[in-house]
């Protein structure tokens, strides 16, 4: 399994996404109000919108292009929209944020 240190927790402001490139992957990282950290593929399933720039509410992000609501936990687009983004396990150790490069879920 591969994992990568993407930065420190301080670099992730609460409820504001950050984008990170790892090889060919482009991920969006989020730190929620209650300090959970999520990593998802930075492409909305609809038209590839930059999810890292969306409005974050609880464990959801709203795509800035057409307001699709994506769950950060499982990557599912919320009804009435359909689709899914890939999600990755993100952990915090000693103030550093790590992402495991094995998709979770499916």
């Amino acid at each position: 399994m591969m994992r990568v240190k993407v930065g420190t927790i301080e670099q992730l402001p609460k409820r504001l996404g950050k984008c990170v490139h790892i090889g060919v992957l482009e991920l969006a990282l989020f730190r929620t109000q209650d300090d959970r950290v999520y990593a998802v593929e930075n492409r909305c399933p609809h038209k590839g919108g930059d999810l890292s720039q969306g409005i974050v509410s609880g464990e959801y992000v709203f795509c800035p292009l057409h307001d699709w609501k994506i769950c950060l936990r499982d990557g599912q687009a919320q009804a009435p929209d359909e689709g899914c983004v890939k999600t990755y396990r993100a952990t915090v150790e000693d103030g550093c944020v790590y992402v495991e490069l094995q998709e979770t879920g499916e």
């Binding site: 399994m1 591969m2 994992r3 990568v4 240190k5 993407v6 930065g7 670099q11 402001p13 609460k14 409820r15 504001l16 950050k18 984008c19 990170v20 490139h21 790892i22 090889g23 990282l29 109000q33 038209k47 590839g48 919108g49 930059d50 890292s52 720039q53 969306g54 409005i55 974050v56 509410s57 609880g58 959801y60 709203f62 800035p64 292009l65 307001d67 609501k69 490069l101």
Partner: protein, 808 residues
């Protein structure tokens, strides 16, 4: 500091007034209430129901001890105010307490009238006024069998019914020759008497009481005609008297009641009277609806919002005796100048009469079937003409096929007269909160909370609504699915409770989702900014990306940059700068916008701050819900047809209103002649120069919902254009829904209404004042970010490129 408000009298009228005050402004007053009775506020009207055994004393409590506590009200129950010192503005009580006031409400109610006859003070003689009287009668009925009620009015009959229920024999003594003469005509009265006799009451009419006799306790009543009857219990229900002793002692003007004007003010400053103790235009009301109406007006006055005055009430009465339906309202007697329509079904004991004066419905009496009472009262209050009365309204209930009355009522018709609750309000509450029972409706709307006479109607309405009707009322526009509140309700709460952050709004107003969504967060952010200019710090994480990054996000994730060019005018130097920047950052496309500005498209997010720094120009706000551009034509300087300096005015407008945040984007244009080269007819604000002046158009839109602007007004000077435009923008800022374009807003609130507001010199001045306050608090966002390293880090920098590392 909070002002001190003292209420003397803990009854229905006074406490209702306090409730209204709390609704208007929770924080303004430190409230103290004195009540002579040892109970919290209860529903006196329902005492007869308690006596009749239909309900318990606990159930008629209107405001519990907790209610006082929760609202921070000091309640001294069982304590009587004995003295008002209006020089020092303080009251004294029978327990030696002294309390200061800034405002003082007298709601001392009334006392039962006790006949001044010998023996009136004998044990076994009681009035029927409070819980204690009620308890005493219940106690008596356990030992004694024979009761006499003096008074054949509403209260006397209700008391008599209660005593029958308690197993007593009851004689009702009345001085007139028919019952309830103040509410009923002789026909209805006779029907009533017949019905009550069937229930077991015995009537002695045209009897004047001379004395009550008895050895140690009451044993009987003797009349002026020499006859007498035996009685173990005598209830006096001959009327009430406003309780004005305290007022009179304190030098407040008193006639029958405490004299008040149309704002419930007594002749002494800062002292008001409301309810049964007050006399308004010569009338003392003893019914609950007028008292509540008075309470509403007085609450406004006390909160410093003197608005609608109180102009007296049309009263209606309903008898609360099971098995007997009686209703009367307004002018119910036939007399000089009145005509009436009557239905008299003797066989079924149904009688209905509608009284008409000069073609208008002025009164009604109903016996046997009172379901139309509310409807008739509404008609009387509105002064409807006879034509409005459908004769089927009077059709006997048993005629079959009669449509449910509630179905035919208009939304504005009042269902609960005591509390002034309309059909529409009840239906709305049922739909919004999914109410299922009369009790729930009462808790949400106050309907049926007082006399309870409308319970049947409420129940019918519920039944009706739970059918298909419910869908018609779910139309309240809430901000989003996270709340049941509308924009207006949220703004009112923000102001009233002085909520200062998005989070505070959500937690105080009970948001369903703790962090809201992409609809409510930006809206709340806007409302807070609009309400607290200069004070509220925008919450960046609640902004849509364009406004957070001050550039337009494009389909491919890049951004576009539009520097400000006032009025569409630029210089060689600016053009050169833009060209240099475009080259330096490899901007893939340079394009002119529809609003006469230059757009640099395809810029990478992380380049934005450096591009702005290099440009050294202010943001053009091409991304914002704010003033975008003022498009202009060439104007009289160069154009053959131009009548005015459109470019000059356009620049001035853009410089003045630059950075002003609005509910949605705002576009403006100035054309120098009716040829309208700047397309002023489809802008939020379009100005067209004509010979000797300017026309101002508003509410235009060239977008999805194409709409031609409406002519707001024509003015002579540039100064006036600035003033009207500014006031228009501010009013739009304050009253539009978030994301509502002016085109929709103008249609929703109406051009006439907007004119009324803007043409009112005072209101316009106030709007402009607030506008300038908002404008003076703005800063150019590009510069702010260029100068703020931390903001750049937070908003524009990504985490960069990383290499994966294998782990065990």
């Amino acid at each position: 500091m909070k002002r001190k408000l003292v209420l003397v009298g803990n009854g229905m009228a006074g406490v209702r007034c306090i409730e209204e005050i709390l609704k208007l402004n929770r924080e303004a007053f430190e409230i103290t209430i004195f009540g002579s009775e040892p109970h919290p506020n209860y529903n006196r009207i329902l005492l007869s129901k308690v006596l009749q055994g239909d309900t318990s004393i606990d159930e008629i409590t209107l405001n519990s001890w907790e209610w006082y506590e929760q609202n921070g009200i000091r309640l001294f129950a069982g304590e009587t105010v004995t003295d008002i010192d209006h020089e020092e503005q303080l009251v004294r009580t029978d327990r030696g307490r002294v309390v200061e006031y800034d405002e003082l409400i007298l709601a001392t109610g009334s006392n039962p009238f006790i006949l001044p006859v010998p023996g009136a003070d004998l044990p076994g003689v009681t009035a029927f006024r409070d819980i204690q009287d009620c308890e005493r009668m219940i106690e008596y009925a356990k030992t004694y069998k024979k009761a006499a009620v003096i008074g054949g009015g509403l209260l006397g009959l209700e008391a008599a019914r209660g005593l029958l229920n308690l197993g007593m024999d009851v004689d009702v003594i009345h001085i007139f020759d028919y019952l309830m003469e103040r509410q009923l005509d002789p026909t209805a009265s006779k029907l009533l008497q017949r019905e009550l006799e069937k229930q077991g009451m015995n009537f002695l009419l045209r009897k004047e009481t001379a004395e009550l006799f008895g050895n140690g306790r009451v044993e009987g009543v003797r009349f002026k005609d020499g006859t007498s009857i035996a009685a173990d219990l005598v209830v006096m229900a001959v009327g009430i008297r406003p309780n004005v002793d305290l007022a009179r002692r304190s030098g407040i003007a008193v006639n029958r009641g405490i004299i008040v004007n149309d704002y419930l003010e007594t002749n002494v400053p800062h002292i008001y009277a409301v309810g049964e103790c007050a006399e308004h235009r010569g009338v003392v009301y003893g019914l609950v609806a007028p008292l509540y109406e008075q309470g509403k007006v007085l609450a406004q006055v006390i909160c410093g919002r003197k608005g609608k005055s109180y102009e007296g009430s049309v009263v209606s009465t309903q008898l609360k005796v099971s098995g007997v339906d009686v209703f009367s309202a307004g002018e119910f007697m036939d007399g000089e100048g009145t005509e009436s329509i009557k239905l008299y079904d003797e066989a079924r004991s149904v009688y209905k009469k509608v009284v008409v004066r000069e073609g208008k419905i002025v009164g009604a009496v109903l016996f046997g079937d009172t379901s139309e009472g509310r409807k008739l009262l509404d008609m009387i209050q509105r002064g409807d003409s006879l034509e409005a009365l459908s004769l089927s309204l009077l059709a006997p209930a048993s005629s079959g096929g009669k449509e449910s009355l509630v179905a035919t009522m208009a939304d504005t018709d009042v269902v609960c007269g005591c509390n002034g609750v309309t059909k529409g309000a009840i239906c709305q509450a049922i739909a919004e909160h999914g109410l299922k029972t009369v009790a729930e409706v009462r808790d949400y709307t106050n309907a049926s909370r007082s006399c309870g006479g409308c319970k049947g109607l409420v129940a019918e309405l519920l039944e009706h609504m739970l059918g298909e009707e419910v869908n018609r009322y779910t139309v309240k526009e809430t901000i989003c699915g996270c709340t049941n509140l509308s924009r207006e309700e949220v703004i009112a709460a923000i102001k009233e409770k002085r909520l200062m952050t998005v989070k505070e709004v959500m937690s105080v107003l009970g948001w369903k989702k703790e962090e809201g969504c992409s609809k409510c967060r930006p809206a709340l952010n806007y409302y807070l900014g609009m309400l607290y200019p200069g004070e509220y710090d925008e919450e960046v994480e609640s902004l849509f990306v364009n406004e957070r990054l001050h550039a337009n996000i494009q389909a491919d994730g890049t951004y576009s940059v539009v520097p400000r060019m006032y009025g569409g005018v630029t210089t060689a130097e600016q053009l050169r700068k833009i060209a240099d920047v475009a080259e330096k950052y490899n901007v893939p496309m340079i394009k002119l916008t529809g609003g006469q500005r230059i757009d640099l498209l395809g810029v990478k997010k992380e380049d934005l701050p450096r591009i702005w720094a290099d440009l050294g120009m202010p943001s053009g706000y091409a991304y914002a819900k704010a003033l975008r551009t003022v498009k202009t034509c060439v104007g009289k300087q160069f154009c053959r047809f131009g009548t005015q300096d459109s470019t000059g005015l356009g620049i001035r407008m853009e410089q003045t209103f630059e950075r002003l945040k609005t509910p949605h984007k705002v576009k403006m244009a100035v054309s120098a002649c009716p040829r309208n080269c700047a397309e002023s007819g489809i802008k939020d604000v379009g100005v067209v120069g004509v010979e000797g002046g300017w026309e101002i158009y508003v509410g235009g839109n060239g977008g999805t919902h194409l709409r031609a602007a409406d002519l707001l007004c024509t003015v002579k000077t540039e100064e006036e254009v600035m003033e009207m435009t500014g006031a228009f923008l501010q009013y739009y800022r304050e009253s539009a829904h978030y994301l509502e374009r002016t085109s929709k807003w103008v249609e929703r609130v109406g051009l006439e209404h907007i004119r009324e507001v803007l043409f009112d010199v005072e209101m316009r001045r106030a709007l402009l004042e607030r506008l300038h306050k908002a404008l003076s608090a703005t800063k150019d966002p590009w510069r702010e970010i260029v100068e703020n390293e931390r903001l750049q880090q937070t908003l524009f920098c990504d985490l960069g490129d990383k290499e994966p590392v294998p782990v065990e």
